[in-house]
Symmetry: C2
Subunit: 433 residues, 2 copies
């Protein structure tokens, strides 16, 4: 193709070809303006009807909005143009004409509901403030991977087709795998643990997870992207340090490298979390929640935290915080309990004031205790033999955690609905596009 110049790079005096979408055409009579939009920004193309070739003017001014065109011509300084420059077209080529009627207005002048937006994600993502969310998402992934590498962690990819789910048969999507029953994996948990027992010692993965939960809420997805971390020779306290470091690295990278995107989203005061995140024990959390008086019914030890309870505590704390020392019975089998108090686990959650972001903990690395944990949870350890048997061959003490990328983006950017943080969400009702 012809050498193409981004509109943002077009300087007065240049002779260039720009290509993009017809954002708007304004016909003022003797003169008309076409605003061409590309990834980098917009440029004004000026048509002087009496002085230009008739066909050229006709092509430029009759093309439908959102058509794809390329324009070759001179760039001139023009103070009255929005970007201070405008183009005088020597030629215009229509690369792909758009229909006159669009299911969604990419200029954003006409509001669309989320469902229409998701049905037409291509058009929806022509809005700069929607695009900004996904540029930020990509920057977050870059930043967390860099952070992991800086602490000696190796990227892994674990299988998404599995014979058994992490926590048994619930909430799994079944697959037919060459006539055998299999499932889409709900978490890399067991596989990343197997890898800390290998020579890799410290690993991370960014990949999809699948949960057949019936929830249909603004903060649940049936397919999500997970950031998983696991390391040998650390305990739950050190795992929380890494978790906190990862989150801060993500926020700092966005603050530093996504200023334009944050502007588009209306953030003139994007705050990066600083200071150590408070670490409340579960018991302290319960007490503080009860003390807020926000709940109709007082919580008692052993209760899981409802959405309302999380909100009350989040408002009270006012920033990110950890909840540690959860009752063993409400944490999964692979979380280790305290030696001197087997009713309390070394599991933790990282909380944003709006919701839970991370689950993690010190893991059970002793074969006997692990198999017992399976049984207590009503799971058959035999089915997980591929996993448990490796604990007999030198499994180090280890700890780790997992972030949902979408919740991280949702809370970072104050999005109302988690579906805004994923290109093509999958939920109870939505399987397409």
């Amino acid at each position: 193709m012809d050498e193409r110049t981004y509109t943002a790079d077009a300087e007065p005096g240049d002779h260039v070809t720009v290509a993009g979408w017809v954002h708007e055409v304004r016909d003022l009579g003797g003169i008309a303006f076409l605003i061409l939009r590309d990834k980098s920004g917009k440029i004004q193309v000026k048509f002087e009807k009496d002085e230009m070739d008739e066909d050229l003017v006709e092509t430029g001014l009759n093309v439908h909005r959102e058509s794809v065109i390329s324009v070759t011509g001179e760039v001139e300084a023009e103070d009255r143009a929005p970007t201070g420059v405008e183009m005088l077209p020597g030629s215009v080529e229509v690369l792909n004409e758009a229909d006159a009627e669009l299911p969604l207005d990419p200029s954003g002048k006409v509001d669309a509901d989320l469902s229409t937006r998701l049905d037409n994600r291509t058009l929806d993502l022509r809005k700069k403030e929607v695009q900004a969310i996904f540029e930020i998402r990509a920057e977050v992934l870059r930043a967390v991977r860099d952070y992991f590498r800086s602490i000696g962690s190796t990227e892994i990819n674990t299988p998404k087709i599995v014979a058994t789910g992490t926590e048994g048969g619930t909430e799994l999507f079944p697959i037919t795998y060459f006539g055998e029953e299999a499932f889409m994996n709900q978490s890399p948990q067991l596989f990343k643990q197997l890898m800390v027992g290998s020579g890799l010692e410290r690993v991370f993965e960014v990949g999809p997870i699948f949960r057949a939960e019936e929830h249909n809420t603004p903060r649940h997805l049936n397919e999500a992207t997970m950031i998983d971390f696991e390391s040998a020779f650390i305990d739950h306290e050190e795992a929380m340090d890494v978790c906190e470091g990862t989150l801060k690295a993500a926020y700092e990278a966005v603050a530093e490298n996504c200023t334009e995107e944050l502007d588009l989203l209306g953030y003139d005061d994007f705050e990066t979390p600083d200071g150590d995140f408070p670490r409340l024990t579960y018991e302290e959390a319960i007490e503080r929640i009860n003390a807020t008086g926000e709940l109709d019914e007082q919580l008692v030890y052993g209760d899981d935290l409802s959405t309302e309870a999380e909100r009350a505590l989040g408002d009270d704390v006012g920033g990110h915080y950890f909840i540690t020392d959860w009752p063993s019975e409400i944490k999964p089998f692979y979380i280790q309990d305290y030696e001197d108090d087997p009713t309390t686990s070394k599991g933790f959650d990282l909380m944003h004031p709006r919701m839970e972001l991370v689950s993690g903990g010190q893991r059970e690395h002793r074969y006997g205790a692990l198999v017992e944990g399976f049984e207590q949870q009503g799971l058959d350890p035999e089915q997980f033999d591929y996993y448990t048997k490796m604990f007999k061959y030198g499994m180090p003490p280890h700890a780790g955690w997992a972030y949902g990328v979408e919740r991280l983006i949702m809370t970072m950017l104050g999005l109302e609905n988690i579906r805004e943080a994923v290109l093509f969400p999958r939920d109870r009702q939505r399987l397409s596009p």
Copy 2:
């Protein structure tokens, strides 16, 4: 946990705690050596039986091989030790005792077949030369992502649960999705195309793909990791430039940052590809293959290239090369044909002398031609409405391609079997671990 020092960082004069796996114990009578192995390397721990606490000696020398221990003590220079230093233990703690019998020998002294290795990946990956493959794999992913960002490409994640496969109903794993029929996606193809029509323009994804192929060969997997690239406003020639650039970036990063790993794998002459990759048309390729005389039967125009044909041509060319201008009928519907010759497509393959690495091409961006292509391929365009309809609203000309990560690693490192390039392979027979 106690502050832990990697064995490679232990310097004479230090008092440190190291932790890792018991690699070997050599008892020479009055003196004994325990070799402790961790991610960074190995260290010799010396037990002087007459001078040390009896319990300490007993603990250190009776622990099974591959148990996890931590040792605290003094580091001393010792020329006769393999690394030039040794530790005099003040205390030894057994963190997790391994069984006496292991299903696989992590020291590599006893060979194991691939199936046993894959059944016991945790132990297998304690071998430094196996670990090296996955450190290199992680470095390749880092390098290609950096390369993509350097050319203004945004990372995306597209759904793995889909209503329709990229190329229809063949070779798809079916899922039950809340009572509806769905599939595991065989390629991000359609979704990444939808994204080049959005404001993102140029995107990449690294993620799993799923193919229900019945093949059970040393170079096929049913779940693989794909590197996908797609960009608006480029043609197939420019897509090949990016493809070549990505491959070279990966090789150069490995040559620069994985010298230790390459040493372990026995490469003292790891070659990074240089010079422009030859671009043969399909017709030229056929002629050259026939001219080698390696094939029992001469190829004729329209034939797909068999494994034997690829090998014959690969030997003849002797390095990476592209095959361009494929007959339209053996390329999928979304590849564009030449305007002046609709029987020839703008599809291309990147070939390594051993096998195909990449499929790519200029895409069909015109609504009418796209729908026609579906019909010609025997697919119902209605079923793909979520995709085709976006081509009516300003889809730019675009091109792209996809690499299989495992084939890239396999050819880069000269691995015999593609399963060596994936932690937990999925094939016709293997669903666990």
